[in-house]
Structure formats: C-alpha cells, structure tokens
C-alpha cells in the first residue's frame, strides 16, 4: 500500500488504461505536464469559446430597437471618430518607431543658429533617407489627424450627451487623454530643434514658471532648467518616445475597455 494519494484525477493510471501509441502517450504526458504547471486548459477553453462565438452578436441598439435610424442617421458618422483617433495613434506609433531609428535627441556642440545633431538628423531623414520625407510627413499628419479626431470626438460625446450617468469616469479619462495627446504633440513639436521648436519651448518654460508655488519645480522637471538646453531636448524625447506611449496606450486601452463594457451611448 503506497502513501500516495489516489483520487479520480490520477492521470497516470488513466494514461496507462488508455492503451496509447507512443506518439499519443508522449503528447498527452507533455500536455499534462504543462497543464499542471500553467493550467493552459483555462486559456485554451477561452480561445475555443471565442472561436465558437466569432459570430458573437451584440444587443440591438436603442435606435435599432425602436426603429429610429431615419431620425438620427446624421450622428452616426461621428461615432467613428474615437476609432479614427485610435487608428491615427497606431499609424503615428508605427511611423514614429521608424523615425526613431534615425533621430538623435542631441544638441551637440552647435552654437546659436547652427544645426544641432537633432536638426541635422531630421535633415538627413528628409533629404537622404529613402522614403524618409514621406515617413516624417506621415508621422506628422497622423499626429495632426489624431488630435483633430480627438477634439471632434469630445464634441460628439458632449453633444450626444454620451458622458452622462454611468459614463462620467470615461469622460474624465477622456479629458486626461486629450490633455496627454496635446502634451504628445507639444513634446514632438520640440524635437526637430528648429527655431519654432526652440521658441515654443521657451513659451513652455515661461508658462511653467508662472504656475504659482510649484512653477520652478515644474520647469526643472519638464524642461531640465530655466533655459533651453540639451537637457530640455532629452526630457522631451523621453516624454515623447517612452513615458507618454506607455501611459497613453494603457489609458486608451482602459478607455475603450470601459466603452466595451458599458456599451455605446446613443441619443434617445
């Protein structure tokens, strides 16, 4: 009599009783080995269920249910603005990653009015790099389009009253997202380190300095000092390609997740 506990989940005995071919036995042993450790049955079942429900059907919308389509059709094009901004974000992310292969966030030893390393890298991208001009163009335009779409998306949500009762949190999240989108734009705007970038940065420093109480601290944190330098460029770069992408992507996922959970608010 062995001390080992025997229960109905004694897979070993079950295996022996099955009279399997070597291939089957190996497969099943491996499967059981992995499943005991990672419980893949959960994930496999999830995938299977998703497969069987790929024709997952959504509830009838309010307008469908009460046959109001002919009344409100003109709103519907505006309901795609959120998706459109997400899409522009994805395009910007892809083109931005490609630009990041060539861009260097460095002022170098450039004096006033001379091309810094960052500036000459942009010039390189635009003049020498195959497809580089188009790449920068795509990045810039997708950013512009994303911002525009986000603004219009907010207006749509406002005018269709979609921010109301169960959805206040998503409205707040949306405000955070639109602000971060603008920070994204601003930090990206500074990266070429041309005249406009520099003086936009100057305005940014002065704006932070004029915040009561914490102004100087904010200016040092965001711009690395009270005048623009290598530190500013570096910080804006890290904001633009490291911090913001993580934060904004996560928030977008949560934002869309909440919409998914709560359903789309339609005018009624």
């Amino acid at each position: 009599m062995s001390l080992e506990k025997k229960d109905e989940y004694d897979h070993k005995n079950w295996l022996e009783s099955k009279d399997l071919t070597p291939v089957e036995a190996t497969f099943l042993t491996a499967l059981i080995w992995v499943d005991k450790r990672l419980r893949i049955v959960d994930y496999l079942e999830l995938l299977e269920s998703l497969y069987y429900r790929s024709n997952l059907q959504m509830p009838k919308s309010h307008t469908e249910q009460y046959d109001l389509d002919n009344k409100f059709w003109y709103w519907y094009a505006l309901y795609t603005l959120g998706f459109f901004s997400t899409l522009a974000y994805v395009v910007a992310a892809i083109s931005g990653a490609l630009l990041g292969f060539y861009y260097v966030p460095a002022v170098g030893s450039a004096g006033p009015g001379e091309a810094s390393i960052a500036y000459s890298q942009i010039a390189f991208i635009m003049q020498d790099l195959q497809f580089g001009f188009m790449l920068r163009s795509i990045h810039r335009w997708s950013a512009q389009v994303m911002t525009a779409a986000v603004f219009l998306h907010m207006l749509r949500v406002y005018f269709t009253g979609a921010y109301k009762e169960p959805r206040e949190l998503n409205w707040l999240l949306g405000i955070v997202l639109i602000s971060l989108t603008m920070v994204f734009g601003y930090s990206g705007y500074l990266l070429p380190w041309d005249q406009l970038a520099f003086w936009a940065g100057q305005i940014g420093v002065e704006m932070s300095l004029s915040i009561p109480l914490i102004g100087e601290w904010v200016a040092q944190l965001l711009f690395g000092g009270f005048s623009l330098s290598q530190a500013t460029l570096q910080r804006m770069y890290i904001l633009h390609v490291f911090l913001l992408p993580f934060v904004v992507t996560t928030l977008i996922a949560i934002h869309i997740g909440i919409v998914w959970v709560q359903g789309i608010a339609e005018p009624h």
């Binding site: 499967l31 009253g161 704006m207 005048s227």
Partner: protein, 273 residues
C-alpha cells in the same frame, strides 16, 4: 394595458423575460419588435461535444480537459451568471469587412494628406534671434490665446491698482479653469436627455465653448489677423454668448417639432388605450 406604462417608464427588461405582470409583459415586448435580446441558446458546444467532433490528438486533448475540468464545470453550474446571446449584425464577415474598409479609408486619407502636404523644417534653433511669429501647433492655439487675457486680469483697489497676479500666471490659471469646467460637466448635467434638442441649454453651453475655443485661437494669432486688435479682443468674448443664445433659440424652436414627431412615433409603437 397597464404594463405599457411600466415597461416604458422604468424597468428595462434586459432578459426579455416576463415583467412583474407575467405573461402580459411578453406581449408588450413582442409588440415593439422585441428587446433584441433572446434567451441563451446552445450554440457554444460543450467539451463533450467538441471532443466528439474531433479525433486523434485533439480528441485526446479534449478528453483530458474534460477530466481536468469537471470540478470547474460543477462550480460554473452552481453560479448564477447568465450568458446572453443576442441577434444582430454578425462579426464575420459583415462587421469585419466594414471595419477593414473604414480602416483602409482612414489610413489612406492620412497617407494622401502626407503625400500632398508634407511638412518642412525651419531654420535651426537660435536663442539670439526671436522670430517675428511664434506659434504652437493649431491645437494649442486656444491655450495660447488664454495667455493673452492680460486686460481681463482684475486690478485690486486695495493693492493700489496693482494686479493680484502676473498676467501670465492669470493666463496659465485660465487653462486650469477651462479644463476644470469641462471636467465637472457630467456631474452637473444629469438626467436622461441626450440629444441637443432635448437639452437646448447644454447644447448652447457646448456651442459657447466651441466658439470660445475658436475665438481664443483667433486671438492667439492676433498679429496675423487683418483686424483691429481691440475689436478682436472684444469679439473673442462677445461672440460665444451670442452663438450660445442663437443655439438656444434655434433648439427651443426645433424641440417642439421634434417632440411632436417623437411622440407620434412613440404612440404608434405603443398605442394608448
């Protein structure tokens, strides 16, 4: 029928089941084309069914999973979670194809824009020469305009006509005020009204905001505007209330017609006794 009113006033019957009045509620649900939600069916196969549809290694996998699952299955059977399966537009291919079409259209639009209007780059940064025109990107114009509100910064008699805070501090704080105002909207505007015609006041507030954002943007580029600067400043704050008032008036007028139509539709669906 009493449940006509109960069904429409409160209690949405999400499960399509019977209301407080039992069988009569079902009748109501059917008369408006159904709630769109039907009882769960058995489309999603059980493990046993999946097992029986396969053979070889995958069948073996299912056999094992069935064993491994038996505990969880009984737990699930005990739970009161109800899966809802409802009828509408299928994901594949209809929804997917539509989404792909939209996606390619939008991406194509972005690429078209970038091909036709590529950005250029200005002179390298030069701290010694301030350019004549410094502007952020267009989406920050409104914020930039707020920095030019100096004339609105109140002077206090107690301080001998001095301003309480610097003009630029005032401008930065104004940004916070605007963001704060947008933030509190859902906590002030309650109720089930959604469309602008149903809430003319809030639609007017919205148009006020949109116009203010626009006029502030115009103010921020005041050196480029072919216009008297003082007139522009006055218009910045006069135009939004005017637009708001017009919106309010128009929507109030429209509302009557809309409500008439909506009511007619409503009573056609649920005829009064």
């Amino acid at each position: 029928m009493t449940d006509d009113t109960t069904n429409t006033d409160g209690e949405p019957q999400t499960d399509g089941g019977s209301g407080p009045d039992g069988s009569e509620a079902d009748q109501t649900v059917r008369s408006d084309g159904g709630t769109g939600i039907v009882a769960p069916d058995d489309e999603t196969p059980t493990w046993r069914e999946r097992k029986e549809r396969t053979e070889g290694l995958s069948r073996l996998t299912y056999e094992y999973f069935e064993r491994a699952r038996s505990e969880d299955e009984s737990l699930r059977r005990e739970s009161d979670y109800v899966e809802r399966d409802v009828l509408a537009f299928p994901t594949w291919p209809h929804e997917t194809v539509r989404n792909l079409a939209l996606t390619s259209f939008f991406v194509g639009m972005i690429i078209f824009l970038s091909a036709t209007l590529p950005p250029h780059i200005g002179a390298p940064a030069n701290p010694n020469s301030t350019p004549a025109i410094i502007l952020p990107d267009w989406y920050l114009y409104w914020s930039f305009g707020l920095l030019k509100l100096g004339p609105l910064n109140p002077e206090l008699a107690i301080l001998g006509g001095q301003k309480l805070m610097a003009d630029r501090t005032y401008g930065v704080l104004a940004n916070g005020v605007i963001v704060g105002a947008i933030t509190v909207v859902p906590f002030i505007n309650k109720g089930s009204a959604r469309r602008p015609v149903e809430q003319p006041f809030w639609a007017a507030v919205g148009m006020f905001g949109v116009t203010l954002a626009f006029t502030l943007s115009m103010l921020s580029v005041k050196n480029l505007m072919p216009m008297n600067v003082h007139l522009l400043f006055d218009l910045t704050f006069l135009a939004p209330p005017v637009v708001g008032a017009i919106t309010y008036a128009v929507l109030k007028t429209m509302r009557e017609g809309y409500m008439y139509d909506l009511n007619r539709r409503y009573y056609r669906l649920r005829p009064p006794k």
